[in-house]
Symmetry: C2
Subunit: 127 residues, 2 copies
């Protein structure tokens, strides 16, 4: 997993998500998942994945006739990039503002809140 600053489009992100959760997949496998939510032809998916390959967002194994694609950027890295973008453009660079917005509007159950507390304590210790 290399690759520094590529920004996937919305469609590309959908595909990456599938690859992250399913692991290496053929175009058809990806396409079948995509079909559940949207409606586009097979060659559309194929083309997208070919482009993603050129951009090195995915890599592909051409050993067998049906090429097998896998993500070439980690989900964590991409999450990081996107969260950073969001903090910079919408939260004046303040991570905690984002955090509060996220907590305010989206229910987290008690267990999750506890995890976050632990996390906060952990960060204090680091100093």
């Amino acid at each position: 997993m290399n690759n520094s600053k590529v920004k996937p489009t919305a469609s590309e992100l959908e595909i990456l998500n599938i690859l992250w959760s399913k692991g290496p997949s053929t175009v058809r496998e990806i396409h079948e998942v995509l079909e559940l939510n949207k409606d586009a032809g097979y060659t559309t998916t194929l083309k997208l994945m070919q482009i993603m390959n050129e951009k090195s967002l995915v890599k592909r194994d051409e050993t067998s006739k049906s090429h097998v694609y896998s993500a070439n950027v980690s989900k964590e890295l991409m999450q990081g990039q996107m969260v950073k973008g969001m903090i910079d453009t919408m939260f004046n660079g303040s991570a905690s503002q984002l955090v509060m917005q996220a907590l305010g509007n989206h229910k987290a159950d008690a267990k999750e809140l506890d995890e976050i507390r632990k996390y906060l304590d952990l960060m204090d210790n680091k100093k």
Copy 2:
């Protein structure tokens, strides 16, 4: 401030950010700020703002010759939409996962961490 589910493009978001921080402004005022970071002509900015007006992302006061534009969606609302989108597409619907990603990679100082703690406690009380 009305308007439900419009998704601003990146350029539109830049303009909204300026409007949110400066308040109602003319095209020229906005353009002067934009010019600091990018380089595009005046009519480009104008056109963009006209389109945003059609989409009701902004509203405009045509009383004086130089029309005065202001945001027609609140920053908070937009933050909410975007955070939600992010949580749904990149964090499996879990707000706390986003929170931890945000805290993990982006320094928040001690004061901010305390604010977050207070916030967490407050949420517990609500139950």
